[in-house]
């Protein structure tokens, strides 16, 4: 029986590989989503290997405080400094490269927190329902009724401005979106007969929610995660721009734009290149999210 089982396993593996190929096929149907994937992989690569890619890692605060070189301030883009230098003579390209780290970390932290809170809330509200469900969803609605950036500002202002507090502020803004998404999905999955069948077996509510229903709502969560990474980065940069996020001289993109703003338009490169970086990151996550949406065939707002 043992060998038979391992054969079954390998056949099952083949099935998995086959279905992975199928997904890849559908993903490939849309070249833009491939471009998105390439952008994201590129960003991750840059973030991981930033110290080796950047020519002046010390300018971005690598292994210590960001270096200064006033002799070289506001150098125009050149071979030595392709994105130019800032008011302290630091290489902007190196700083943009290191900025990738902050933005990705911010996005991942915010969304992990948002999913960690929002998904259980949506599951409970959707499956248990009743007064508890109504209460949870009304709380969610209160959060959703305020524009995200405004709410994030309201949370961030009383806190000490820092990258960490900005992340907390955004996460608090974000979870209701997941609660709402999951709630909607759960309400439809709840009616499927396998949920009733599981109840008929005697399974507990917790088990039904997490073992039966949750796996069926993972696809839309994944798609939303990808789409939201871009927005989270955008809002993080927004807070940085308003001085409520990472503080100078941290090489965070929003903060850098904010700093460079006063030197516009003469030293145009200071704000432009971090702005472009934000643009590319947001675009990449959106394209990928669209592609995933097609692959999983789900509707996500």
């Amino acid at each position: 029986m043992g060998t038979l089982t391992s054969e079954n396993r390998s056949e099952a593996m083949e099935n998995r590989i086959e279905s992975a190929k199928r997904i890849a096929y559908r993903f490939r149907q849309n070249p833009l989503s491939l471009a998105g994937l390439a952008i994201i992989l590129g960003l991750v690569f840059i973030a991981v290997f930033a110290p080796y890619i950047a020519r002046h890692p010390q300018d971005a605060g690598y292994m210590g405080e960001p270096a200064v070189d006033f002799a070289n301030r506001f150098a125009e883009p050149s071979w030595e400094h392709p994105f130019g230098t800032d008011q302290a003579g630091r290489d902007i390209l190196s700083r943009v490269i290191f900025g990738t780290r902050y933005s990705l970390v911010l996005g991942v932290f915010v969304l992990t927190f948002a999913i960690g809170i929002g998904v259980p809330v949506g599951l409970v509200a959707g499956y248990v329902g009743g007064a508890l469900g109504t209460l949870l969803m009304r709380i969610t609605d209160v959060f959703l009724s305020v524009p995200p950036l405004v709410l994030a500002l309201a949370v961030a202002v009383p806190l000490q401005p820092s990258l960490r507090n900005a992340m907390i502020a955004i996460a608090i803004v974000w979870w209701p979106w997941y609660a709402r998404l999951v709630y909607g999905e759960v309400v439809s999955v709840r009616e499927e007969q396998f949920v009733e069948a599981s109840r008929g077996i005697g399974a507990s509510r917790i088990r039904i929610m997490f073992r039966e229903i949750l796996p069926n709502v993972l696809a839309p969560i994944t798609v939303k995660f990808s789409l939201d990474m871009g927005y989270a980065i955008l809002i993080g940069a927004g807070l940085g721009f308003l001085g409520l996020g990472a503080q100078p001289p941290t090489p965070e993109w929003g903060t850098m734009i904010s700093e460079g703003r006063v030197y516009l338009p003469a030293q145009w490169w200071y704000s432009t290149f971090p702005g472009l970086a934000i643009f590319i990151a947001v675009l990449g996550f959106n394209l990928l999210g669209d592609g995933l949406r097609d692959v999983f065939d789900v509707e996500v707002k």
Binding site: A12, I201, G202
Partner: protein
């Protein structure tokens, strides 16, 4: 199923000593020591409306149903959509809580048990649903689906569970290499076999079969039915078969209850029901059976001109609920409510034409 008759009769002889003290002895439908004893079961759904969701009415989905399922028999509930047969099955399996009435399983009234006390009962009563595509979780492998009841009831070690799942797959004639597949990699018939295997995992006594074959292709149905019959014989299962397919019940059911708008219109053993249907509704159902072979024509009643459709269950007709569609209706039918009247051995029917229900066996 039909072959089970001998077993059942011997079982009832064995317990015939109690017959005298048994208050249901006078009613041949209400057998002593049945596996399932349903008495005056009601399931009403409130209809809410208005701004504050106040109750404005109710749907009497199941409205006073009584019957017994004997050990090892197949009791079929037949009716059209909206007659309450699915609700009845789910209420008996305690997927819904009944509004009133009792459901006795093996002598225990399970109608008002809470979820915790129900758990051991859940091992005994299992449901097989109509559409396996919906009743199997698409994100779980077959092995996890079939093993789930064991995990939920914390039975056996991991290795024991895996052995049990394998033997169950064999029992329903599926190859063992389906263990690692997902439901969407299987055909409809194969999925239904998985659903049957899952229902068998805990060695149940009673299976509620809710249209177990109507979502399957014809050539697949036959084998699934044959499997269910074989399992019944081998494991001495009792079946509550819920279906709209009269031809199927003729072939596999021992006894049949015909339901209309939440009530039984007629109850009889299968052969009797087809030989001499007493209720006009049963006559209409039989006459509407689409026959395949010419030879079947003589086995069904003369063509009856049928009128209308099942009315809205939230607003059933007065008197006999079937009277607006009935080809035999008389004036009294719109005002007087008939009750079940004995019309033969092990056979009763709800119709005013049977005379007044003085000796009614209605419970």
């Amino acid at each position: 199923m039909r072959t089970q008759d001998t077993d059942t009769s011997s079982a009832s002889t064995a317990s015939s000593g109690e017959t005298v003290t048994n208050d249901t002895a006078s009613d041949p439908h209400l057998e002593e020591d049945p596996v399932l004893k349903v008495r005056d079961l009601k399931k009403y759904y409130p209809i809410t409306g208005g701004l504050f969701k106040t109750k404005v009415g109710e749907v009497k989905a199941v409205d006073g149903v009584s019957f017994d399922v004997r050990r090892g028999e197949t009791y079929a509930i037949v009716g059209e959509s909206g007659c309450g047969k699915t609700t009845l099955g789910k209420t008996i399996a305690r997927l819904h809580a009944p509004t009133s009435g009792t459901v006795e399983f093996d002598g225990t009234d399970i109608s008002s048990l809470g979820e915790r006390e129900l758990k051991p009962i859940r091992r005994e009563i299992q449901v097989v649903y109509q559409d396996p595509t919906s009743s199997l979780n698409p994100r779980k492998r077959i092995k996890d689906i079939v093993a789930e009841p064991l995990i939920v009831h914390d039975i056996g070690s991991k290795a024991e569970r895996s052995e049990r799942v394998k033997s169950l797959l064999k029992r329903v004639d599926l190859p063992v290499d389906f263990l690692y597949r997902y439901p969407n990699e299987l055909s409809g018939g194969q999925k239904q076999r998985v659903a049957i295997a899952r229902a068998l995992t805990l060695n149940p006594t009673l299976l509620v079969l809710d249209e177990p074959t109507s979502a399957l292709d014809v050539s697949v149905q036959a084998k699934v039915i044959a499997l269910l019959e074989e399992l019944q014989r081998d494991l001495n299962l009792s079946y509550l078969l819920i279906t709209h397919d009269l031809s199927l019940t003729k072939n596999i059911a021992d006894r049949i209850g015909v339901m209309y708008l939440g009530k039984f219109m007629e109850r009889a053993n299968a052969a009797e029901l087809f030989r001499s249907p007493q209720n006009p509704y049963t006559e209409q159902l039989l006459s509407a059976i689409p026959i395949v072979e010419q030879s079947e024509a003589e086995l069904k009643p003369e063509k009856i001109q049928i009128r209308g459709e099942t009315p809205d269950p939230s607003d059933p007709p007065s008197g006999c609920s079937f009277h607006p569609r009935c080809h035999r209706a008389i004036d009294a039918c719109s005002s007087d409510e008939p009750s079940l009247v004995d019309v033969g051995a092990d056979h009763d029917s709800r119709c005013l034409l049977h005379g007044d229900g003085d000796d009614s066996s209605d419970t």
